[in-house]
Symmetry: C2
Subunit: 643 residues, 2 copies
């Protein structure tokens, strides 16, 4: 066979030339670029987490904005627990220890699918939230684009989708640039800000209008709500544990160091921005983000301010982009296990999981349209999934340590994704992961309860539904495999009789072609005409008598103008006479050169296929008659399809 | 064949049981119900015509609102000319003399297609304008629904569409009720209103806020613009000339009398409402229609007011409904002549032109969404088409009288749609139609110029484009007919060799079925496997060797993971060896019981069909394997399709 690269067509102009299966690359990267690549999701959340805390505190009044600082400290404590817990996972699963794999390995399918559903949901929300937050940055700097936020957000998703369909080397070091640009700008803002604060030259923010709300008393519930909102800052912390294989050897050690570095940076940035926002008196506003207000106060309305907004926008878009790697990969993993449609495991022409990418883009766009690109409206849906997957993953680790506690030195359990070895220090490690599981579980409960009415109920309904659907799909694939299995079947293939029916609408070159084919198979055949219009039928009968003479022509009346129903009845009549026979229905289709021409004709092939798909032993043949070019000529341009 | 009524399925629950072709009824109706049926379009326009005049005059200031009265009188003069002209058409074309038929008969295809494009465009706009105006009535009485106007409008279109897909007896006398209800309410309003005016008890309207506009000087251009807006009152006047066959004998005489009655009522209502609106000082407002303001002043805010609003809403919806009869009928006429897609001539299960109905609903809904259900925004697009068709129709009549002027007494020209006879009084009749043609032509020009910037330019671009498309379609159908024609072909059908390829993905019950069928045709065959995943291929080869032994299995490598491209290359190789042979590709598809299950499988039948449709002499056979039920059993439930 020829291995020529297929010719370029429209989709190839958009997506690039197809890549060979053997072209899948793999390169290991150092800690500095790895930090940049895996941290964008986690770090970008500092762009909105502080604002979301203030938005809830504002319900009790601006006098309580100072509470944002202890809340941020609490979240940093949570981050510390998570980091220590995940460090252990990284060493335990050097081939990548996402919650799905850890759960499958230790807790069974139900936990694994629950983690899968939680993570897939959150990857979608990461796209929706990050893009909305990115657009909010743009509209902070350029308020005139405010009315077009949804439009801009959908446009950005479209661009990211096309880039990912083209295929992105996830480990590309060019991705490091925006992350370090953001880190540079953010730390510059903190340094300048705190310097001006210390020197008393930091001016309060001006010209913002706070969102108007009815003031209510400050309750513990409200504080917990604010804490929940802020804990969205922790989404993305698990990213490194998924991507250990991208690191240079010693993989686990390098990944662990990168995780600690990322968490430290995240803690400093989050606390710093929260303090600075409080110092300048930033308020949650419809028109300008808190981070934009803070940057504007610190830098003034100059180039540095615009650079800070640009950096924030870019890192948020990068964060959305990480979901484009994570979502299709996890979906393909679950599909490979038979819990999601198998199409999700197909790699497209550019070796990417196209269905996963398109699915992610579609659902995220839908969310953005429904929630009008509002970060605050999306936040209550976000992070439950992440915290659920944190809990499942840590609980899985606890089970793993318990398994190890029963092992002898030197003993090994080799599973699909991991090797479990004896570890004398299992007890403190079990405690660490146990604390991680309990704490993230509690945070998840707090989140679900305090955000329930704001939208968390949607996720609480969707997650179990998804898990149920995953198992339904799994059951289906198993049932199909059983039904198709040849195990125990010993009968070999045998010829049966074939009754050929040629569908004839009118007597012309295309129907002659179909008749010619039926004749060529050498089996008995008759022409069949479904009579919808009496004049046409009479016309056909006359032409048939003239040209086809002795060959049989069966006329099936169709009083209700259905093409398929009289034919189905006729097929059943034949079946009654010869139940073993194959019924072979031959149709001559017309192929036009363009789609608009094709649309001008009754294209009944699909209709006939659909109508007979439930009838046993019916073969439906379509033989196309090409109108556009001379007979015998083969058009080489259009028979490449990627499905 | 059995003529049993097909079983009920979902679409039948919505649309009702199928109707036999022979069930198409025809009943003649009297003048009173005919007036009601044909007049709703014309009469309903009084609901917005006055308001649209005032809206333009408001640009110069409310002091000029009095000008609405001379403008309305001018429009009534135009109505008089049109009525006399169309009276002559009714007598000349007793089988229905729409502009399309009159133009085809006298002016040729270009004029006929122009009239067709103009009328089809205006039927769509009638739906959009009438429904929007109907919703404006509802939101006048219940301002709380104001934000949901587009939503309500689309809902109404959906309901009308379903009713029309079920099939509506156009001549049903039940349609008379809403028209007479509206006439009763409208005349009651005029009588009470003028009585209160005469007695000095008519109070000016209160509580309305006029649309704010920058005031500009009153110019002739502005007056002509107001006149154009008001002339939308005349849309629908041509309806009777289309529907003459629905009348009792003597058809033409009865139709002519009904036309005169309708025009008189329209003139009285339009003038009356315009006068009364001026008397109560109604102003164009975003919140309440002028007719609602007038009714509120005359009746007070009681039951009579609500009845008047209800009657206006209902007549507007009826007016939209008339387009549901006119549009599909004219589209089917043009499609029958080969200028529109032939599918438009197919009658659905309920004997209606389903494609035309759905197409009309789709475009009208789109217009309502784009123009946010605003009557004033839609008006500049409306009525150009109607006036163009008036002009063409009257010009056609002029040509006809000139033809008649050359005829001898007793001479007859029998054409497809008309019989032309000598008429000694041709000269005055020619003058009447000539005046009609010139006057409507001038009004159309005024409309196009004064409304150009407001939206008329859209129609001025769309109309010629449509005509061009109609002729493109016509040329296509003629070319296909030539290409398919067997004229001059004397060769009879002859057998050629058939090379069968069975596509095998994996060896299981479904592929065994396909192999069995290929074997049964008795032609040489080989199994072909497109290798996308090496593991699967090795697995297949092992199973094949075990079970199929000697039968040939061809493996086609697919480095770019395309299913169709390696297959297409292989087919071409075979073709080169035997250019005359049919290539017969056999596939075993899986049929699931439900659509969601079907969606979980790679359904490549369509992909293969699309990929090979441009290659000559390739027959593609799909033989379905039914997973849902036991082998050999025929499922009778699902093979009914209406296409």
């Amino acid at each position: 066979m020829s291995n020529n690269v297929p010719r370029r067509n429209f989709s190839q102009i958009i997506l690039g030339r197809p890549l060979e299966t053997s072209a899948a690359p793999h390169q290991a990267i150092g800690k500095a670029p790895a930090l940049a690549i895996f941290a964008s999701d986690a770090l970008s959340s500092v762009a909105y987490a502080t604002e979301e805390i203030l938005l809830i505190l504002a319900l009790a009044g601006t006098i309580y904005f100072g509470l944002s600082i202890p809340i941020a400290i609490g979240i940093c404590v949570l981050l510390l627990i998570l980091t220590i817990s995940y460090r252990q996972t990284i060493f335990a699963y050097p081939n990548g220890g996402g919650a799905y794999i850890v759960a499958k390995d230790n807790l069974g399918e139900l936990a694994a699918q629950t983690a899968g559903a939680a993570l897939l949901t959150d990857y979608i929300l990461t796209v929706a939230v990050s893009i909305s937050a990115g657009v909010a940055q743009i509209s902070s700097a350029f308020p005139e684009v405010q009315p077009y936020r949804v439009f801009i957000a959908i446009g950005l998703i479209a661009i990211i989708t096309i880039i990912n369909l083209r295929g992105v080397k996830e480990a590309s070091t060019t991705f490091a640039i925006p992350t370090y640009f953001f880190l540079g700008m953010a730390f510059l803002m903190l340094i300048v800000g705190f310097w001006r604060w210390a020197t008393g030259t930091l001016e309060p923010v001006t010209g913002t209008v706070m969102i108007e709300q009815v003031v209510r008393p400050l309750t513990l519930f409200l504080i917990l709500r604010a804490f929940s909102s802020g804990s969205t800052a922790l989404t993305g912390v698990e990213a490194i544990s998924n991507g250990i294989t991208a690191f240079k050897e010693p993989r686990s050690r390098n990944a662990a160091k990168t995780l600690v570095a990322m968490s430290s940076i995240l803690a400093v940035l989050f606390l710093g921005i929260t303090l600075l926002a409080h110092a300048v008196g930033a308020v949650p506003s419809e028109m300008e983000t808190v981070i934009s207000q803070t940057a504007r106060s610190v830098f003034g309305e100059g180039v540095l301010y615009l650079l800070m907004v640009a950096a924030t926008t870019v890192i948020l878009i990068m964060a959305a982009n990480t979901s484009y790697a994570d979502f299709p990969r996890l979906a393909a993993l679950a599909a490979g296990d038979g819990f999601l449609p198998r199409q999700l495991t197909f790699r497209g022409s550019r070796l990417v999981f196209s269905w996963g990418i398109v699915g992610l883009a579609a659902v995220a766009s839908l969310l953005i349209i429904i929630f009008q690109a509002s970060v605050s409206a999306l936040i209550p849906l976000y992070a439950i999934g992440v915290f659920l997957s944190f809990t499942i993953s840590q609980a899985g680790m606890v089970v793993r340590w318990r398994k190890i506690s029963h092992m002898q030195p030197g003993e090994e359990i080799v599973a699909e994704d991991s090797i479990t070895r004896h570890d004398p220090r299992w007890r403190p490690k079990l405690i660490v992961n146990g604390v991680g599981a309990v704490v993230t579980g509690i945070v998840m409960m707090i989140f679900a309860i305090t955000k329930f009415r704001d939208g968390a109920w949607i996720v609480i309904i969707i997650l179990p539904s998804l898990v149920w659907i995953f198992f339904r799909i799994h059951r289906h694939y198993r049932a199909v495999a059983t039904r198709l299995s040849l195990a125990g079947v010993t009968k070999s293939v045998t010829a049966r009789s074939v009754q050929t029916l040629v569908l004839v609408d009118n007597l012309h070159a295309a129907s002659i072609r179909a008749i010619n084919f039926a004749l060529s198979t050498g089996q008995p055949w008759s022409a069949v005409h479904v009579s919808i219009d009496e004049k046409r039928t009479a016309d056909l009968q006359r032409k048939w008598a003239e040209r086809m003479g002795d060959y049989p022509l069966v006329i099936l009346p169709s009083p209700y103008r259905s093409l398929t129903q009289p034919l189905a009845e006729y097929v059943q009549q034949i079946r009654q006479q010869d139940p073993e026979a194959y019924i072979h229905i031959v149709m001559g289709g017309l192929t036009m050169e363009t789609y608009w021409e094709q649309a001008l004709h009754r294209n009944s092939t699909l209709a006939i296929n659909l109508a007979f798909r439930h009838i046993e032993g019916v073969a439906i043949t379509n033989i196309a008659f090409q109108l556009g070019h001379e007979q015998g000529q083969i058009n080489e341009d259009e028979h490449d399809g990627q499905f």
